[in-house]
């Protein structure tokens, strides 16, 4: 005891300063970006007093409005589709002894995590261009299905984790009491699985909302989401309006991530940690 107080075995020279510098480095740029979104002046470098004018001007900008609505439509649709597909896939792949084709299924689900986004983006550009020529359809479905695909692994992970920690006995009991499979799923499995589903859905939503590369390549003319609109703006003179939009997007992401954290933490506690 006396030894550990005099000589901390965990200490490594210079590690604490580097770690603290790392946290400062991670947050300083974001905090400055948020601060300058409230700047009264035109500049994103010189502080001229507090003002909400850039939020007002972003709010009144038609293009920003359209992009916001489009972003939300795509993120909502893609996260619902991806989460539903992920719940079914998780039910099929957990709590089994493994099956023929398991490795392939697993590789396919995780593919969007492994393959560089630019490659998928190019592949979708080519493939959807063929479909566009063949069918003449240029609507939103291309973006929604592309987003659904890369959201699936993010929705799948927390759902699978939740499912693995669940007690099979309750479902067995439900089936023994002559519950139909659907009834057992709705009344026994789903309520227990729900925190995982919610967490997966939220991650999918954030991932879809933040996507730039695939959206940039897949979108048809006039289908700008907030990130692709901002990317377009960065070629020109940047005003704090972009900061204001960024801050709003940041706020949504941070709120969802913290909610996700609390949800998955609460979930672990209720099932009891080992």
């Amino acid at each position: 005891m006396a030894k550990s107080r005099a000589f901390d075995i965990r200490r490594q020279t210079g590690f604490v300063p580097i770690a603290l510098a790392c946290f400062v480095l991670l947050y300083l740029p974001i905090i400055l970006l948020v601060i300058y979104s409230f700047n009264a002046g035109e500049s994103i470098a010189i502080w001229e007093g507090f003002s909400l004018q850039w939020y007002v001007s972003a709010w009144q900008n038609d293009k920003v409005q359209d992009a916001t609505i489009l972003s939300l439509i795509i993120a909502a649709s893609a996260s619902v589709i991806a989460t539903s597909a992920a719940v079914m896939a998780a039910l099929a792949t957990t709590r089994t002894r493994g099956f023929k084709g398991y490795t392939l299924v697993f590789a396919m689900i995780n593919q969007p995590l492994m393959i560089p986004e630019i490659v998928t983006a190019v592949a979708l550009l080519i493939f959807f261009a063929m479909i566009k020529v063949a069918t003449g359809y240029t609507g939103l479905m291309y973006l929604i299905i592309a987003h659904s695909a890369f959201c699936i692994p993010f929705a799948y992970m927390p759902i699978r984790a939740r499912l693995q920690g669940m007690d099979l006995n309750l479902e067995q009991a439900g089936a023994d009491l002559y519950g139909t499979p659907w009834r057992v799923f709705r009344r026994v499995t789903l309520p227990q699985l729900w925190p995982g589903v919610l967490a997966g859905g939220m991650l999918a939503f954030v991932i879809s909302l933040d996507d730039v590369v695939i959206t940039e390549f897949v979108k048809s003319a006039g289908q700008d989401t907030l990130p692709t609109y901002m990317l377009g703006q960065m070629r020109r003179v940047i005003t704090p309006e972009v900061n204001a939009i960024s801050t709003a997007l940041l706020a949504i992401s941070v709120a969802l991530v913290i909610a996700f954290y609390l949800l998955s933490k609460g979930g672990n506690q209720s099932t009891g940690r080992r």
């Binding site: 965990r10 493939f127 969802l256």
Partner: protein, 300 residues
Amino acid sequence: MAHKSETQATRRRWLLLSPAMFILLFAASGPLLIVVIYSFLTAGDYGGVVWSFSTDAWFNVVVERDFFDDTLSFSDAHLSIFWRSVKLSLMTTFVAFIVGFPTAYFIATRPKNSRDIWMLLIMIPFWTNLLIRTFAVMEIIRNEGVVNSVLVGLGIIDQPIQMLFTEFAITLGMFYVYLPLMVLPIYASMERFDFSLVEAAYDLYASRWRVLRRVIFPIVKPGVIAGSILVFVPSLGAYVTPRVLGGGKHLMLGNLIELQFGQGRNWPLGAALSITLLAIVMIALIFYVRSAGREEMSHG
């Protein structure tokens, strides 16, 4: 009877898997095959392709045909972009390791109940928009940005240093956006580390550096390898960061690929470059899986 329920279970399983598989096949795996096919076609004059077999695109990845006398030479432009992509990705990975390792160590040595909060602090930026974080870096290092203003204000420099639109900016940006990917796996392998091993080493008169190198590092090495791959792979395929922070002057592979579908109007070349990038990434991943497998065998 048993056989029947077995087939029923199989049918149910594939039925449950079908929506996810369909979406992924349609919008992720399937299109990749089309990219392979496109890389063997002839470029159309105004973008798109002509459906006739050609290996020109694959030659053009590294070789250039002279416009006037048809002689072949190595394509300096492409090779320098390949080299820059690899160089900046390696540098990013290295710096991320130098900063990420101590940070993961710091978090793993905090009291148990506060570790989750520290990790949350690492992960929050990661889940926020990559474009926004890149943009935040851009604001800091631009000529009128905070770094230059402070340095000029303190009288350390007279003129702002041009940092934006350089390779340094790209490396800094990639480091900044991918750092959490280094910290996460190192922390995961360090969290279960048994510090009585360190105590034993000190009892045997080991120095701190020796303990770090000979006791701690070998045990968390799988985490370091995983983190390095996780940072290297997206850096190599980065598109947004070099576009925003490189200002179109310092292209990386991702930008070169995009160019072929935009101004370049050479879709087969773009396809061939994409497959090349994919191949490099796959080699890195296979290397990782094999080293992880070996690690498991030697410990299990």
